[in-house]
């Protein structure tokens, strides 16, 4: 199934816009999704270092299945 993944921070400079659409197996985990995203990023895959997938409620652990709803790929944070 197609899932839209929002991109933030430095990921917006990957030339992919503010989100990517990737094809994921049913019940894919965050780990599986990150592997698919790595291919989608191609030569820019190093940007994914330290990134985590999150919903609008919480950051996902790598073994978590992707829930329905918004999904975002988040680089290391530096707010404040």
């Amino acid at each position: 199934m197609k899932r839209k993944i929002e991109l933030y921070g430095r990921l917006r400079d990957a030339g992919l816009g503010s989100s990517v659409s990737v094809d994921l197996p049913e019940n894919a985990t965050a780990r599986q999704a990150l592997a698919v995203l790595k291919s989608a990023f191609g030569a820019k895959a190093s940007l994914l270092q330290g990134c985590a997938l999150a919903t609008d409620e919480a950051v996902l652990a790598s073994g978590d299945a992707l829930p329905a709803g918004r999904l975002a790929l988040l680089p290391p944070v530096c707010g404040g």
Partner: protein, 145 residues
């Protein structure tokens, strides 16, 4: 003030946050404001853009506020700004009202440290020389509620 933890594209109102946590039972108000610096890591900065995953950021701010208020007998207000900020503009403002000063300082400090560790916000510095750079940060991890 409607909400005591939020993300906004509007200029931060430090005084309003301070008023929002005031109480006749408090003897101490500690507050913190983070601002854009003209020089960072030896580069002359013109502006900083703050990107943010707003729904999660607001939930994390609410969780940090709640954690501070569980840990200390405090009332906390916190706001984080988004968008492009010029030098001197405030990116974050925190106010913690408490009975006593040690608690007020501790609660205020806790909130800014937690923001830096877990709120999904990213800074891109724009330099006077014309180029820009996303700053390195803290990798996120799932947290147990």
């Amino acid at each position: 003030m409607r909400r005591l933890s939020f993300v906004t594209a509007a200029r931060l109102d430090h005084a309003a946050l301070c008023r929002a946590v005031s109480s006749p039972n408090h003897g101490a108000l500690a507050s913190f404001v983070g601002t854009v610096r003209a020089v960072h890591a030896g580069r002359r900065v013109k502006a900083v853009s703050y990107d943010c995953f707003v729904p999660l950021a607001e939930k994390e701010l609410a969780r940090i506020k709640a954690a501070a208020e569980r840990r200390w007998p405090a009332r906390v207000a916190v706001a984080h700004r988004t968008g492009r900020l010029k030098v001197g503009e405030a990116s974050v403002a925190i106010a913690a009202g408490c009975g006593h000063r040690a608690e007020a300082f501790a609660a205020c400090r806790f909130v800014i440290e937690e923001i830096k560790r877990r709120v999904p916000v990213w800074k891109k510095e724009h330099y006077v020389s014309g180029d820009g750079r996303w700053l390195a940060g803290c990798a996120l991890h799932r947290r147990r509620a």
